[in-house]
């Protein structure tokens, strides 16, 4: 979904950075690239991807802000920094948001932001709240020093609705829909993040008319089954399963869509189920669907 949004935005002329929060390589793969590192890597026109690695981000942070060279080969201090960056939960969560905030603040020599839009492919719902709430948690711990100022700045970005918005992805199934509603509440309450929209992914939007059901039932009825099979060259019996699946998936899409709309104060955008293999083609197809929805 992040890949599709990134493509849609890049096509609309925006300079986009897509960020993979858990470095799995899926996002880069969906954008037709091999796995990328911690530096922005151009994968399509107007579209770059980076993959977050806690330790690398921490080293970069120290290098950028404190002019400290890579500590890897120095003294036992390296061990301490590794411990802080990867072993202690607070700084690790903070680095995720901090790196994104850093990219948001980057400017070109003419003062223009380097990115028009940064899209982060976040961790699963249980963890994304912790990541987004990390600046808040850090603020209660660190009361002075340079970090305090930086945490404040990151916190301000996260809470500023004109700069940060969360998009919740749901599926047209009971539990994912319930989780999406709960996530919306937690994002708002625990992390103070505004939610912009809910994307109902893999929505089954094809209309199934009653005529289709009536026709198939008639074709499969005892009096006609054999003649129909002969005419079609094969028995249409398996079509009963696909039609039933379609009816149920459509019903589930309608029902979950209704539930999400009534529970969430944000637009719910259905994104149709794709039948293509995962990859750039799918991301493009979803991007088109999103562009249509936006129009």
């Amino acid at each position: 979904m992040t890949a599709a949004l990134a493509l849609a935005a890049a096509r609309a002329g925006k300079r986009v950075l897509a960020v993979e929060v858990e470095p799995k390589g899926d996002l880069a793969g969906a954008l037709g690239s091999r796995p990328v590192g911690a530096a922005p890597h151009l994968v399509q026109h107007n579209l770059s991807v980076l993959s977050l690695h806690a330790e690398e981000s921490f080293q970069e942070y120290l290098r950028l802000f404190f002019k400290i060279p890579r500590l890897a080969r120095l003294t036992p201090l390296a061990r301490v920094f590794d411990f802080i960056a990867t072993g202690v939960p607070g700084p690790r969560d903070m680095l995720v948001v901090g790196k994104i905030a850093f990219e948001e603040r980057r400017r070109e020599p003419n003062g223009r932001p380097v990115w028009d839009l940064i899209l982060a492919d976040c961790a699963a719902s249980g963890h994304v709240v912790s990541h987004l709430a990390a600046p808040r948690a850090m603020m209660s711990l660190v009361r002075g020093g340079i970090i305090r100022g930086q945490v404040e700045w990151v916190e301000a970005m996260v809470r500023d609705q004109s700069r940060t918005t969360a998009l919740i992805c749901a599926l047209p199934e009971e539990m994912p829909a319930v989780e999406a509603i709960e996530l919306h509440e937690r994002l708002r309450r625990e992390a103070g993040v505004a939610v912009g929209a809910c994307l109902l992914n893999r929505a089954f939007t094809t209309t199934i008319s009653p005529a289709q059901r009536t026709l198939l039932d008639a074709m499969l009825s005892e009096g006609h089954r054999d003649a129909v099979s002969e005419r079609l060259g094969a028995s249409p019996a398996p079509l009963a399963d696909s039609l039933q699946l379609a009816e149920r998936m459509r019903d589930a899409t309608v029902k979950c869509g209704r539930e999400l709309r009534s529970a969430l104060p944000v637009p719910v955008v259905p994104v149709p189920l794709q039948t293509t293999r995962a990859g750039l083609a799918t991301a493009r197809a979803v991007a088109e669907a999103l562009a249509e929805a936006a129009a």
């Binding site: 858990e22 799995k24 390589g25 899926d26 400290i68 036992p76 201090l77 061990r79 301490v80 411990f83 802080i84 072993g87 202690v88 939960p89 607070g90 690790r92 969560d93 961790a123 699963a124 719902s125 249980g126 963890h127 912790s130 990541h131 709430a133 990390a134 209660s140 711990l141 660190v142 009361r143 020093g145 970090i147 305090r148 009971e174 539990m175 994912p176 709960e182 094809t206 199934i208 005529a211 026709l215 198939l216 008639a218 074709m219 006609h224 005419r231 079609l232 060259g233 094969a234 028995s235 249409p236 019996a237 398996p238 079509l239 399963d241 696909s242 039609l243 699946l245 379609a246 589930a252």
Partner: protein, 408 residues
């Protein structure tokens, strides 16, 4: 390779609430619950959004009812409705027994006993502090420390350790024949496999304490290595924070012996033959990649992967070549509608026949991709794969668990 539960062959209409078992060629005809029946701990891993919590609860139910055992499912952060279905009123490590009457009403066989608990991170950490602190004063000081408070309830990494700690306690208590653990949906869920060293990087923590804290004589242990660190830390955090951190680390150090011992014990438990891992996935690319990751990681650590459960599988009937032939004829041949009008004695519109055909062809394509993914998965895991079909009809939460349990 095993077909596991081939639920997809059961016509959709007949599946609902029905307890039905199809042959499982490579598992000696045994169900997943039967195959896992000798285990005392089952750890379920998988990416987000695959239905892991629901499947963990269903598996616990299957183990309890099929084998007449006392089984506990320990969940991490379940959606409220599932928690309600299981009868968990609030978070707490204390197991709640799900009443027989409720299970019976939901259609579960009246055997065994199912309990549920929801991981309470804060109290797990607190209990650990109380257990390992040298005295009550140290424990109280540590619990008051702001860093401790934040780390124990706010941050991501603390979930995994707390889950394993709670698991160990529940297993040791011996009240259950089997504990099914639902791990957090992230790759870090398996970080505890890198224990005991990983639980807390002892060297890192000690160095930090040494660099940051006052020495025994009340003077900062300044030396060549510490000087740049101190300057940096003061600039970064302000000096009072550093002293608080160092106090925290020093206090924590006193716990370390106990924690490390416990981590070793957890590690031993996880490697014992009474523990098995189950990887849960769907055939979507994201979760699928996660399943691959978990299988590889378990293999790297020589942890026993006992089963792969694939959720939301499409019925095999969709791949029946006859269906595709009939669907193609309907989708592509405009004359079929006219012929059907004559055959059925009712007007049939060409767009209706086309829609039925195209719908089937779309699902057939999806089902073919599913099948290819399943084959890949079997190669990766090299264990029996249990399939849970895509259920799209509406049932109550507990009924849903019973239905899935009947397939495991």
């Amino acid at each position: 390779m095993s077909q596991g539960v081939d639920a997809s062959r059961i016509p959709i209409e007949r599946r609902r609430g029905e307890r039905r078992r199809s042959p499982r060629p490579d598992t000696g005809g045994r169900s997943l619950a039967e195959r896992l029946g000798s285990l005392e701990v089952v750890v379920c891993c998988g990416g987000g959004g695959v239905g892991k919590t629901t499947l963990s609860a269903s598996l616990a139910m299957a183990l309890a009812t099929t084998l007449d055992k006392r089984v506990l499912v320990l969940t991490v952060d379940p959606a409220k409705r599932l928690a309600t279905a299981l009868g968990i009123k609030g978070i707490g490590n204390d197991p709640v027994v799900i009443s027989r009457a409720r299970l019976r009403r939901a259609g579960a066989p009246a055997h065994g006993e199912l309990s549920a608990a929801m991981l309470d991170m804060k109290s797990t950490w607190d209990r650990m502090v109380e257990r390992y602190a040298p005295d009550r004063k140290t424990a109280a000081r540590l619990m008051r420390n702001r860093f401790y408070q934040r780390i124990s309830d706010a941050f991501v990494g603390s979930h995994e350790y707390a889950a394993m700690e709670a698991l160990y306690e529940l297993h040791q208590a011996g009240e259950f024949d089997c504990v099914v653990v639902d791990t957090p949906p992230s790759r870090n869920a398996l970080d505890f496999l890198e224990a005991p060293e990983r639980v807390s990087d002892y060297v890192g923590a000690r160095l930090l304490s040494w660099l940051a804290g006052p020495s025994r004589f009340g003077v900062r242990a300044m030396n060549f290595a510490a000087a740049p660190f101190m300057r940096l830390a003061d600039r970064l955090l302000g000096s009072d924070v550093l002293s608080e951190v160092s106090e925290f680390v020093r206090e924590l150090e006193q716990l370390y012996g106990g924690v490390q011992q416990r981590a070793r014990a957890v590690y031993q438990l996880l490697r014992s033959p009474s523990v098995g891992f189950v990887v849960v996935t769907t055939l979507e690319p994201g979760p699928f990649a996660e399943a691959e990751f978990f299988c590889t990681k378990l293999r790297d650590f020589s942890m026993p992967l006992r089963a792969l459960v694939v959720n939301r599988v499409l019925p095999d009937s969709l791949r029946d070549p006859r269906g595709e032939a009939a669907a193609s004829a309907l989708a592509e041949n405009g004359n079929v509608a006219r012929w059907l009008t004559g055959e059925l004695g009712e007007h049939v519109r060409p767009d209706t026949t086309r829609a039925i055909g195209e719908n089937h062809l779309m699902f057939a394509a999806l089902a073919r991709r599913n099948a290819a993914q399943l084959q890949r998965l079997q190669r990766i895991g090299d264990v029996a794969v249990t399939r849970v079909p895509l259920f799209t009809d509406e049932v109550g939460e507990l009924e849903g668990l019973v239905r899935i349990a009947s397939l495991l």
